[in-house]
Amino acid sequence: MSAAEADVVVGGPATRTDQLPRTGRALPLRFLRSELQIVFGRRRNLALLGVLAAIPVLLAIAIKVSSDDDDGGGGGGPGFFEAITSNGLFVAFAALAATLPLFLPLAVAAASGDAIAGEANQGTLRYLLTIPAGRTRLLLTKYAAVVIFGLVATALVALAGVVAGLALFGGGDVILLSGTTTSFLDGVGRLALSVLYLSACLAALGAIGMFISTLTEQPIAAIVATIGVDVLMFILDSISQLAWLHPWLLVDRWTAFGDLLRDPVSTDVIGQGLLVSLAYAVVFMTAAWARFSSKDITS
């Protein structure tokens, strides 16, 4: 220790902590890893993931049972439901469509609404900030964990859908919505792109949740408010008299992931959806930063 100190003294005015190894900077992922452990270790979040994994299985079983009964006449849902019986891969797409309005947003809201408000409520926020973890760094790390949680949740729905679908309906070549046939592997690729697209959409909702989370010390209130925003946007999106508003709603282009099942893939709406998501994410994360960086932490 004294050798290190001698260096510091020679090196000019310095503080004791300058002797500490700086390797922390080389490992910016350590905090994120710790944050992910918290997010994925929370029972509430694990229960949500469990529900999300169960939905595709229930969906596949329900369709299997009804198609056995009336010989393939069931379904009638949004596009891919009818295709499910022809290829198990469509269970994954149908499950994404089914969980998109509420359950996937719920997972993202649970993680993002809890992010700051949960720490504030517990009192752990003041200890994180006096470390000092840094307010901007804390906000960004938390947001990264939220985005990853949303991605994992979406991928889990797709994965459970693929497994349940293959088990009950089998795989093989995929007949796309536009009628052309492609390989199973290509179908899986399109599913992966859908997962990424929806994760980006959900990341924007996560930014809204992060902002709301900086406004309160009650995590449940932040989670409910985030879900409220999601549901409100779906309601507004369904009112045809408000058509002028629809392009500006975050959720308006969420179902466009179905475009990935066309040949050729139509990217217009998806591109717009990504731009709108990016805009929402930037606006709300900036608002969250503005709020959080100047907030008095009295919890």
Binding site: S2, P13, F31, S34
Partner: protein
Amino acid sequence: MSTQTVRTAGGDTAAVRTAGLTKRFRNQTAVGGIDLEVPGGAVYGFLGPNGSGKTTTIRMLLGLIAPTSGTIELLGEPIPGGAARALRRVGALVEGPAFHPYLSGRANLARLDAADPHSDARTAPARIDAALDRVGLLPAATKRYRAYSLGMRQRLAIANALLVPRDLLMLDEPTNGLDPQGTREVRHLVGELATEGTTVLVSSHLLSEVDQMCSHVGVMFEGKLLMQGLLSDLHTEANRTAQTVRVDTDRVEDAAAVLRTVGLTDVRPGVGHVTGLLGEVAIEKVVPELVNDGVPVLGFAVLRPSLEDVFVSLTGEGFDVSG
């Protein structure tokens, strides 16, 4: 020796210095323009009743809340501007412990250490266990935080402040919830850290605690810093102004009259004795005056004031009155 060189590099020895530090919440002034000065190497007792503005001050020093006006210098860095640099060198316990209830004590410390951009992941397990050991929590390291008693929680919070070597420790009511044995241990720990050269700012509403632990003291009352300085100076000052004389006699009323004539204040006749505040009166004058007037002096004592008496003389109120 070299540690000392490092710490004082910069030529400024104040660990904490504030000027006109003020915090107003809506229309209530929590802290009203205080000039705090904690010298480097001191154990500074930040004393005051609950609600006197101690915690609000500490939160401002740590950059958790922004002052309404006034300036803060923490280890030579302005707050909040230089908070990132200064806070690395500060260990803090603010307003009681707070951790994740479902994580073990060790996992909670690991999480806080992971959040520190400057800490070394490789040394983390050793540092965490050393900190736990120092506060006597190592046997309970794997227990969930929610199963900890209040005293264990308090210890864990202190362990967090000791994860990396610090130049300044801010301990807000560190003995809250501890049993007498735990209180003694914390006192011992603070003494040890101070010997190693760490400056300690410890807030307390317990006068005796500050009296036993600290070299310096600052007294907060209703958002104002009434006085600060060496604890020994406070005692000297108190002795000068607040010494009480007790005369045992069988002629209480006569004795009281004499004491008043000599110049004692707050003279109180009791059963078989009289007490009075000595003030500026010389002690040696009292007994001869009594004897001259024929009052039998059966006993004579000078009572040194406790810190509590000093506090009452400063505030004009009992210590338990919240601001």
